[in-house]
Assembly symmetry: C2
Homo-oligomer: 80 residues x 2
């Protein structure tokens, strides 16, 4: 089962990478762009085929490794 995990910074947390992208876009002439935030996308393939167990397992991976839950949110998407 293919799984996608989206890890994003919580809203109050400063995002210097996002700011750098926003600035670079401005320098390239793209105007009207703001609130640029950069996050991570982690794709993985699980042997587990039961969606409930797969999600529980991935949630556990997020809590333990994939996301820093002090400053980051995560969202899990199962692709069946």
């Amino acid at each position: 089962m293919k799984v996608k995990v989206f890890v994003t910074l919580k809203s109050g947390v400063l995002d210097p990478q996002g700011k750098a992208i926003q600035h670079a876009l401005g320098s390239l002439g793209f105007s009207g762009v703001d609130e640029v935030r950069q996050g991570k996308l982690i794709e993985l393939n699980l042997e587990e085929s039961d969606p409930g167990k797969a999600e529980a397992s991935v949630r556990d991976m997020c809590e333990k490794l994939l996301a820093n839950t002090v400053i980051e949110n995560y969202r899990i998407e199962l692709e069946g």
Copy 2:
């Protein structure tokens, strides 16, 4: 208009970050996980409200800055 851009490595391209995550998951006791790939998620807010124009503009941003199209694919998602 909120826009999400997903930047992922093309399939033939080595992904050491993904490998590191896969190895770390194994060390933590998560078995049956493979094909781990790490990509980027870039969220931005555009003043442009026309979906067609917004998508064209973001596609241009991807080609020029957000993705390295030699080794990366990108996907654009408009959130209206």
